[in-house]
């Protein structure tokens, strides 16, 4: 029994690392630019497809392809901020919600037309490998994904704490007007935030390919997980999002193990609804007083 | 004359910051009280505590004898305490008339009656010419007037004005002072948060000074202004002699 639980916890933590990359991206954008990026999951999906094509056409290992997907998606983030997001900042909720929502819808459906709904997978040398210890089964691909995800999160955290640009981002997220008075260019800061967030999403996509299938709608699963993690982890708080993501991965995994194969999503939603019902004070911005 | 507003030992903490601590004062009916103090003294927080936007950690707020702590802002308003906001919050899409009507609806359900009451308030605040203007197109001072008219339309007994003079030029400040006088003339009890000293002196006979969340002085303008604690709070210890 203990082994079953431990195994489920391990599985949950490993996938939770990926959720963390996605939810940290959402948190970063929400914290700095103050908008919710409904399309975040779609960039995970694009990262997956990019890795898929690099793997099948050029034989590049998906995890190695990080060095391509991350910069490409960083640039995408900067462009999206410059051409789209910038134009709706300062307006009320409607444009800010529905612009990224429209973007999400657009990307999913164009992908559907371009790639068809067929599942795409990449099989690597280590896709089927696993470590065995203490009676537990740890797939190598997932372990690498988790390790890289945590490493990237650590780098991001250090960046935010230690570098000037990182501090500028934190400043802009806390008080935009004052930050401007201090000479920080908000548009530049926002562009970097979008770029980083999308790069993280792309990284998540690359890391997923060895053990997960790509299809146009795949992003929606991850983004819903990400949103729940952001809400649970206190909106705008990067560390909170990370911890919440790991917890959610575990909760989903336990749900799948003990309730049923398709119950993962329900468990997560129940978590969200329970949090809303019982702990609204724990949720910072965006919540009724 | 009754006690319109009795604030006792009000306290509020936000994380590591004690925003308001042991603040008490009493406002008599029909009186105009000015709440002053340096930036960050806790004046707007006090307003938010009194009107139900924040819940105090300790203390009580009684308006004409009735306890306000624990009530939601709309209940506080229904019991006769109206407030304006430091940063004006007009209902931008609506006209001036519609904005004020929305306030009047508290006491008059029927649109026609609400409209009439709204017009009275608009007239009182000198906004009649702008009745049909969309609120977001108003000038700053007119937005302030709108805030006051809207609050007035709820037929309050106590009116809390949060920095209505901020950002106005000298002529506009004079107009604002006249308006506050006019409101007081109607028998309203007024609590005004203000930075501009000459405005404070012009409208208030009773002043409460806050600094770092605590009351450091209270009394008539002359006494308060000469109080060394007050001087120190505003200008630094070098000036308190």
């Amino acid at each position: 029994m203990v082994e079953i639980v431990a195994q489920a916890v391990i599985n949950g933590l490993l996938i939770g690392g990926i959720y963390a990359l996605v939810s940290i991206g959402v948190t970063l954008i929400f914290g700095v630019v103050k908008i919710v990026n409904f399309a975040q999951g779609e960039f995970v999906m694009l990262g997956m497809y990019l890795s898929y094509f690099l793997a099948t056409r050029l034989g590049v290992d998906p995890i190695v392809s990080l060095v391509v997907t991350m910069p490409v998606l960083f640039v995408a983030g900067v462009l999206i901020q410059h051409f789209l997001i910038r134009r709706v900042l300062g307006q009320n909720d409607l444009p800010q919600i529905f612009l990224t929502f429209a973007l999400s819808l657009l990307i999913v459906n164009v992908s559907l037309m371009a790639f068809t709904a067929n599942y795409r997978t990449v099989h690597t040398a280590y896709s089927d490998e696993a470590l065995h210890f203490a009676g537990l089964y740890v797939p190598v691909a997932k372990l690498i994904a988790f390790a890289v995800a945590m490493a990237l999160s650590g780098v991001l955290w250090a960046f935010l704490q230690a570098t000037d640009l990182g501090k500028a981002m934190r400043a802009a997220s806390q008080n935009r007007e004052v930050a401007q008075l201090m000479g920080i260019n908000p548009n530049r800061v926002f562009a970097v935030a979008l770029g980083i967030a999308l790069a993280l999403a792309g990284a998540a996509g690359s890391l997923l390919m060895p053990f997960y299938s790509a299809y146009p709608m795949v992003g929606q699963v991850f983004v819903l997980m990400a949103f729940v993690a952001v809400v649970l982890g206190t909106l705008g708080n990067v560390v909170g999002a990370l911890i919440a993501s790991l917890l959610m991965g575990v909760a989903e995994s336990l749900g799948i193990q003990f309730i049923g194969a398709d119950s993962g999503l329900i468990v997560v939603f129940m978590l969200l609804l329970a949090t809303l019902a019982l702990r609204p004070r724990g949720l910072a911005a965006g919540v009724q007083r | 004359m009754a006690d319109a507003l009795v604030v006792s030992s009000l306290a509020k903490r936000f994380g590591g910051l004690q925003a308001v601590q042991d603040v008490s004062f009493t406002v008599r009916e029909g009186e105009t009280l000015a709440l002053i103090g340096p930036n960050g003294a806790g004046k707007t927080t006090a307003f938010n505590l009194i009107t139900g936007f924040y819940r105090p950690d300790a203390g009580s707020v009684r308006a004409f004898g009735a306890e306000m702590v624990g009530l939601r802002p709309y209940q506080v308003c229904a019991r006769g305490l109206a407030r304006t906001f430091q940063v004006a919050k007009p209902f931008g899409e609506m006209t001036v008339l519609d904005n004020v009507m929305t306030g009047a609806f508290l006491r008059d359900r029927a649109p026609a009656a609400a409209r009439d009451k709204a017009r009275e308030a608009i007239d009182f605040l000198g906004l009649s010419a702008r009745e049909r203007t969309t609120a977001r197109d108003l000038t700053t001072i007119d937005q302030r007037r709108l805030e006051m008219a809207r609050a007035l339309a709820t037929q309050p007994r106590v009116l809390l004005l949060d920095e209505v003079m901020a950002g106005l030029n000298a002529a506009e400040v004079d107009q604002a002072v006249l308006l506050v006088d006019k409101l007081a003339g109607r028998g309203l009890t007024i609590v005004i948060v203000e930075h501009l000293m000459r405005a404070v002196m012009a409208v208030a006979k009773h002043i409460v000074v806050l600094d770092h969340g605590q009351k450091i002085a209270e009394g008539a303008p002359g006494d308060v202004m000469a109080n060394p604690e007050v001087i120190r709070a505003y200008l630094g210890s070098g000036y308190a002699r």
């Binding site: 529905f98 929502f101 | 709309y74």
Partner: protein
């Protein structure tokens, strides 16, 4: 719009709409018209909450589905007429809107939207599992009774057209009445500045609850109609995210917070959808791609929607003419 102008438009529109089926006979065209009216109806219901009060729900499929399942269950299990089932579905949805609202309104802005998406998803997942009570993932067809008006089944499309027209007229009437009444002002106020609204005595939670109930009730009625129209129900169809999307989209494109906004939006979106369907067939992803481009264009260039933009043009013209 000024009242007399609006009444005139409504009267003219209703007359035209009433005689349309006498002129238009093609089943395809009637189907398009029915979809226009149906989504105008759902959009009008959404608009009350999302347009006026600016609480942007993307979870209205929850109520659509609840209405659909209520009437279908009553019909198949207890032989109750869908006309009654439609009202019962509305009641079920209105009641459901209380706990759903209680949870979702704890959040504001985009997080409210996310919470509504989650609720609709949860309901879909729940109904996918209810095999014994409600046919599970397979769903069910409703028995074809031929022409049975008392059971909301008709030969030919014209009658379905009139049912949706009737529903739309009711929804528009309710909206027009709300617009001019106290609750209408309260909706716009809380949508614009929630704190200021509370400060002038508006019981914001109660207003939100009430409008959510009305919106839910109406949306549920559409769900009943839809099942009767396509003779089929399953969770993926009636709790589908695209229902929620379209409910919001027709209002945003046509003009949020405006009486006829959803109708205008529905005309544009449904005819576009029908054209795409007839020219390109059913290629997955085409319709939503076009919808998303239209939505983006509206958000970036005309955020007040088609009618909103027209209103601005009219206001600008009027400002140039001296006041009479």
């Amino acid at each position: 719009m000024a009242i007399p102008v609006r009444l005139g438009v409504a009267a003219a529109g209703t007359i035209v709409a009433a005689v349309l089926p006498l002129v238009v006979k093609s089943p395809f065209a009637l189907d398009v018209l029915i979809r226009i009216l149906l989504f105008a109806f759902i959009g009008t219901a959404w608009n009350l909450l999302g347009g006026y009060a600016k609480q942007f729900s993307l979870g209205h499929a929850a109520f659509f589905g609840l209405g659909a399942y209520t009437s279908t269950l009553l019909q198949i299990d207890l032989n109750v007429s869908p006309w009654i089932g439609m009202l019962a579905g509305g009641v079920v949805a209105a009641i459901a809107s209380l706990p759903i609202g209680w949870l979702c309104f704890r959040l504001r802005g985009p997080y409210f939207t996310i919470a509504t998406i989650a609720t609709a998803q949860v309901l879909m997942l729940v109904f996918l599992k209810l095999r014994d009570f409600a046919w599970g993932a397979e769903g069910t067809t409703i028995p074809n009774l031929g022409n049975a008006p008392l059971m909301m089944q008709f030969e030919g499309k014209a009658a379905y057209y009139y049912v949706t027209l009737g529903l739309l007229v009711v929804a528009l009437g309710i909206t027009a009445w709300i617009e001019r009444s106290r609750i209408g002002y309260y909706l716009v106020a809380l949508g614009e500045e929630q704190d200021a609204a509370e400060a002038i005595g508006i019981n914001v939670p109660q207003v939100k609850r009430r409008i959510f109930m009305i919106s839910a009730f109406l949306t549920a009625m559409a769900g009943t109609f839809y099942v009767q129209y396509i003779y089929f129900i399953d969770p993926q169809t009636v709790f589908n995210f695209s229902v929620s999307i379209e409910a919001a989209l027709v209002s945003i494109v046509g003009g949020v917070g405006l009486l006829f906004g959803p109708l205008v939006g529905a005309v544009l979106l449904e005819t576009t959808s029908a054209l795409l369907q007839s020219q390109l067939g059913s290629i997955a992803g085409v319709q939503l791609t076009v919808y998303s481009l239209i939505l983006m264009a509206v958000i970036l260039w005309r955020p007040t929607g088609i009618l909103g933009y027209v209103g601005e043009l009219v206001a600008r013209r009027r400002a140039k003419r001296p006041e009479r």
